[in-house]
Amino acid sequence: MSLDRRHFLSSTAAASTLLAAPAIHAASKTKQYRTALIGTGWWGMNILREALAAGQTKVVALCDVDSDRLEIAAEEVQDICGDQPRTYGDFRELFEKESVEIAIIATPDHWHALNALAAIEAGAHLFIEKPTGHTIGESQAILRASRDAGRTVQVGLHRRLGPHHVSGMKFLKEGHAGDIGRVQMYVHSRGGKEEPTKNSPPPENLNWEMYCGPAPLRPFNRRIHPGGFRHYLDFANGTLGDWGVHWLDQMLWWSGQQSPRSVYSTGGRYVQGEPVLNATEQTSDAPDCQIATYQFESFDAVWEHRKFGGAGPEKSSVGCYFYGSKGTFHMGWRDGWTFYPDDSNQSVVHQDSQLQEPDGHNLKLLWADFLQAIESGKRPAADIEIGHQATTLSLLGMLSLKLGRSVEWDASRERIIDDDEANALLVRDYRAPWIYPKISS
């Protein structure tokens, strides 16, 4: 994340006291969940650190296709808590050999479904990163399988519990911004043309074949791993499939989980240039700018991202505007939320964010909520259905972009109306021997 993390550090000391996890039922405090992490990169380890900090985690296994990462992660786990997790390069072997009660899934998107389904089959509860699928069908499969198996699934939408998000939603739902007719979600950054980078043989510590897994096997490139997969559509869905899921979820939360009737997206790589992929070199291929318009019953929601131009005259480069009959409400990230009344005689209302730094998240709250949900059997704050809906909207945007036309969405059937070509894009071909998940009905 290249957005300025440092800027808001001064507020973290105060925030940390407010973020103390809610007390979990005293009797169950001793319960230690046998936990496995699949995908031991930057974000996966952020989640695992929070899990360990909550005090009810015994790390039994780690899995990654990068053996260096795996070794480093295992060493850190031992440094933190003394657990000596067993390490695996293949999640199937992990679930075969280990008894796992909680699986954390933080692999690139194209692996989420197969990892999640294997974990559910092994009887584990899931903490899974968003998006919940690389295609809509994968996300549906996780939703159905977890419901059938009665497993708790928390999706990594920590903004569902972030204190300023909670108070901002209350403000909106109490009507202080009036009737909302339009929601604008956005992330903007700076950048220019992307020159191709030379391919190279994968590093000896990386099982590249397994990294690609169900996705096409493309030449290895240092831009992809570590940390670059989001910009490659074989493995992820660009900015809309990343940031977009968070902000779409904020919009859905405010709307009471409504569904759009139609989705239309445009975009491209107008500044970064046409994607390159050949035997010697490649670029990323995710759009450098995109607009996706979601038409709901009583409002429009518009996603927009740009990887060039910067924030411009805007105060913030990321967030969500709710335009209402009483003014404009901005739900931000580190900048908290701000309401600008349309009557200039009224004063601006603002609330600061309360985040865990340096990465600006609220994973501590999300993990505590996850444990409570497992113990109570109630749905967690960012339940799989919530994650699935936000993921679906982001993927419908990508689908419309690929088709170059709008799609009509039948939310009850989760199908695109009268459009076989579009419905074909709800799933993808998997590379053998991997088999696309069956959606139980």
């Binding site: 994340m1 290249s2 300025d4 993390r5 440092r6 550090l9 990169g41 930057w42 260096d68 990462r69 070794e71 480093i72 060493e75 850190e76 440094d79 700076r190 950048g191 220019g192 043309k193 992307e194 020159e195 030379k198 190279s200 043989p201 590093p203 000896e204 510590n205 240092r222 831009r223 570590p226 940390g227 670059g228 340096p358």
Partner: protein, 407 residues
């Protein structure tokens, strides 16, 4: 003790003390980590005090985005910056900051997870300037005019891949050779024309600048690879030893510190530090801990103590003093927010990550600020440099401030 006996030794003592305390004027800082490769200047004739109004900023200049540090020879100061798909080597006059020459070469900003721009520091040697771009091209320029003498796509010539964030090591000149941290354990070219002398395996390098260990029979070059620090025979490039050293992003960026038959290594990302003793030419661990994690900046060894930045730069790093022989932390300053660190004449110069310059004696007794003042705005992650009593500080956005601390 008998005074009359001591009397005879006095002239010798006076001579020795004089030699040690001889004030050092204007020492050129011709390369990354200075002429001795220690990161420390010997200059003592500069002041740590300034008026209430703030540090005496002689001039400022815009050099473009980047992390390249400054090098100084005579009246010339050089660094590299980026704008509009172009890296520019700038040569400024140390007196007033006016531009003496500029040299442009095409380069992507390459702002992967950071602001991008050049990350290596130029090297001045024998009237020439050597510049290694992030995409692994080596340029030699005429120091006086900035004219291109030759360039070579050295990574391509050597058929070695680039590390994830591109080349960031400074070129090291040794005799008639240019030593580069490229490939698994280095690439060496002829400094006259850039022709390849030897190369290493096609594996990722790390980001630290090579260091030479001169032995009685053999010179060893130490390279930070993405997964290890590797010692090679400087003549042939043959690997002599390897110390496995993993970090999350293959980010071995701190230069090894070699002293008294021992070697100190340190990296961030929960790797930590270790001291090794060379036994029969192989490094043998003396101590190892996680108390000094140099993510980007190399520590400095002064008077038996290491001074360095511990922790990942985005996670509130600490300034620390550590005992060289034991690895024990002597002191740790948690709220300084260091962005870069230098030392001159036994005093530490800390550039905070928001652009304040802080000066304090380098002593295990503690970190006692002599003075502090704002010299730059915005994020600063480049080590300041002191040469000729002037301190050169640089922000990521590309402002260079020259603070005149001459006495």
């Amino acid at each position: 003790m008998n005074v009359s006996n001591d009397y005879r030794c006095l002239p010798v003592l006076v001579f020795l003390l004089g030699a040690i305390n001889l004030p050092l004027m204007a020492e050129d800082w011709n390369r990354w980590r200075g002429p001795n490769g220690t990161g420390m200047s010997n200059e003592t004739q500069w002041t740590s005090h300034w008026a209430e109004a703030g540090p005496p900023i002689a001039w400022t200049a815009e050099v473009g985005i980047g992390f390249s540090s400054c090098v100084i020879q005579g009246n010339q100061m050089l660094t590299i910056g980026h704008a509009n798909q172009t890296d520019t080597v700038v040569c400024l006059d140390v007196k007033d900051g006016h531009s003496i020459w500029k040299f442009d070469y095409p380069a992507p900003l390459d702002d992967r997870d950071f602001e991008g721009g050049p990350t290596s520091t130029p090297t001045i040697d024998d009237g020439s300037v050597y510049v290694l771009s992030r995409v692994g091209e080596l340029y030699r320029l005429d120091l006086a005019s900035g004219a291109l003498q030759w360039k070579t796509p050295v990574a391509e010539d050597a058929q070695v891949r680039l590390p994830g964030w591109g080349c960031s090591a400074a070129p090291l000149i040794a005799g008639d050779r240019v030593v580069l941290n490229l490939g698994e354990s280095g690439v060496v070219v002829d400094k006259q024309d850039g022709t390849l002398i030897w190369k290493s395996n096609d594996k990722e390098s790390g980001y630290a600048t090579p260091v030479l260990i001169h032995g009685p029979d053999q010179t060893t070059a130490v390279f930070a690879s993405s997964r290890a620090y590797i010692g090679v025979d400087f003549d042939s490039g043959k690997q002599l030893w390897r110390e496995r050293w993993l970090t999350s992003f293959g980010c071995n960026a701190a230069d090894p510190i070699v002293h008294d038959g021992k070697m100190f290594l340190s990296s961030g990302y929960n790797r930590g530090a270790a001291l090794f003793e060379f036994v029969d030419g192989q490094p043998k661990e003396v101590w190892k801990n996680k108390e000094m994690q140099n993510q980007l900046h190399s520590s400095m060894l002064y008077d038996g103590h290491l001074y360095g930045i511990d922790g990942n730069m985005e996670y509130e790093p600490r300034l620390r003093c550590m005992d060289w022989s034991t690895g024990n932390v002597i002191w740790s300053i948690d709220d300084l927010h260091p962005g870069g660190l230098a030392m001159a004449g036994g005093r530490l110069l800390v550039l905070t990550d928001t652009g304040e310059l802080v000066i304090a004696p380098a002593t295990p007794q503690g970190f006692k600020e002599l003075t502090r003042g704002r010299v730059l705005e915005g994020k600063c992650w480049t080590s300041p440099v002191l040469s000729g009593g002037r301190v050169y500080c640089r922000s990521v956005a590309g402002q260079v401030a020259c603070i005149d601390l001459r006495q």
